[in-house]
Symmetry: C2
Subunit: 346 residues, 2 copies
Amino acid sequence: MRRPEPPFLAACRRNPVPFTPVWIMRQAGRYLPEYRKVREKVDFLTLTKTPELAAEVTIQPVRRFGLDAAILFSDIMTPVEGMGVDLEFDPGPVIGNPIRRPEDVDRLRVADPRETVPFVLEAIEILRRELPESAPLIGFAGAPWTLFCYLVEGGGSKTFIKAKSFLFAEPDSARVLLNRLAEMMAAYLRAQAEAGVQALMVFDSWAGLLSPYEFRSFALPAVRRTFEGLRGLDLPLIYFPNQGSTLLEDAKLAGADVLGIDWRLPLSRARAVVGSEVAVQGNLDPAALFAPRDALGTQIRSVLREAGPEPGHIFNLGHGIERTTDPDAVAFLVDRVHEWTEGNGG
Amino acid sequence: MRRPEPPFLAACRRNPVPFTPVWIMRQAGRYLPEYRKVREKVDFLTLTKTPELAAEVTIQPVRRFGLDAAILFSDIMTPVEGMGVDLEFDPGPVIGNPIRRPEDVDRLRVADPRETVPFVLEAIEILRRELPESAPLIGFAGAPWTLFCYLVEGGGSKTFIKAKSFLFAEPDSARVLLNRLAEMMAAYLRAQAEAGVQALMVFDSWAGLLSPYEFRSFALPAVRRTFEGLRGLDLPLIYFPNQGSTLLEDAKLAGADVLGIDWRLPLSRARAVVGSEVAVQGNLDPAALFAPRDALGTQIRSVLREAGPEPGHIFNLGHGIERTTDPDAVAFLVDRVHEWTEGNGG
């Protein structure tokens, strides 16, 4: 007899589950004392490039909370360094050679991830040996548009006006760059799949900077190209268009099995837009973890109620966890989601 | 015979207009050389507190572009200083005494604007003498929730996690603070109306940090209280819930005649949600001003097409103009909106 599928993978495929699976965006991070202890010894970049340490911090939250999935500890910028990008962290990404003219785009090459990021693939191999079967490993990459934002802007920004201006001023070059990033990310994700990850997630952190028209004409074709490059892999694919409330009609065409929903859109409204052919992941406001326990419980119940009884819901935050969060609030969250959904079958 | 109403005021009231009126959020600012010249001599805070200079920079863009409205040069934080808040700009607002505990809320008093911000009222009086009749003067204030964000967080932030945590952890105190801000802003806006402004706008720059549930339970009652405090004034009221795509069903209950729409939601979709009882203002992506003229023209036409032929559209950007914008692109925008809508009657 075949062993039952772990609930996280079952929910991604909209199969019935014994309870609603839960994991937390940026679950490995500074809010955990055990993570901070590792970071006392090494800086962020070294941590992402040292397979044993990256694996260790990936496992920490699974061990502490009994989460239903693990997500590889890495950074969305990691694979672009090998494309010819001067990358530092201070603490956000800083690009030494931002793309400002069409000719800068030619500089970027699509590299072989086995040569440029072997440490990522090694971390995955370690993790597949060490993680419990109940916590499938998620590999990930940045969406082409989100990587574009950093590469053109040169780092983080409130408005990413240089990146957005480049779209409007140089649409043809912008498409060349987006396509190159799309191909690189497809190769990167495929390499992660071959190394053993059990699901793949694409983070489009800056999707919400675009109107539906620009999303449809620039970001969507690029991310679709990435997902098309993963055809034939038997892994659930997750797409998270952050702040994408107005983009979901288009985002569901990206080709993912699961759409991540930020906290701004109640899941019932997201389901009404995306239909029942994709699963949804989300979407507790990370600030709710600062509420007293009874109020936090009310917020958790509200997300579960919004998700409804139909299959295909993975509980998560609607954005990354804040570094000042109390780990005990996360433990409460994970336990309540499990307890309150056990036996729902949905 | 009564003189015809200026197009901006007519559009706010959903009356027919000879052409679509246009103004630009943050139209007085650093992208204008004549503004930078004034700022070489005085700092931002001094500028907001010197009526002659505030009036001069308010008029500059009207003079240069022939805009259909002027907006008072000031800052949303200006009226909170008189409530007992230690305020500096560096360059964004920095609060010396942020509100972190329920007892901090009691410190804030509702002050008389005539005593705390006489310079604002004087600037309005100067402007009513100097502005052409074709450019009605808009007064403004921050929405209670947006002011709350700064007062609790202590300054600008990407996530305003301290402000949002306060909502979740101390909901009763949060409501007391929101109500106090609501009353103060009603008094402040009423004083502006008495000094002569011809429309009033409430900026809820951080509305988009809230889910519909939190918006409905905290931000909306407060901003509604502000608008209720303006009853009896015969002025159009404008509410801009920035990044509020998921909040519009609720935002239309705030009590404004006009809703500002950011660039993320096409105006036809906004109109479908808010109905025909309110006018809409927006919503060109500020990044479109960096496009070559023909592409910018396409973007302008797209906003006009989305707004549709029915009355009640004020053309604007979907967010504040960027300081690196070319003033000639703004001139092009204003001229095209006028030219392409002349004789539409809607």
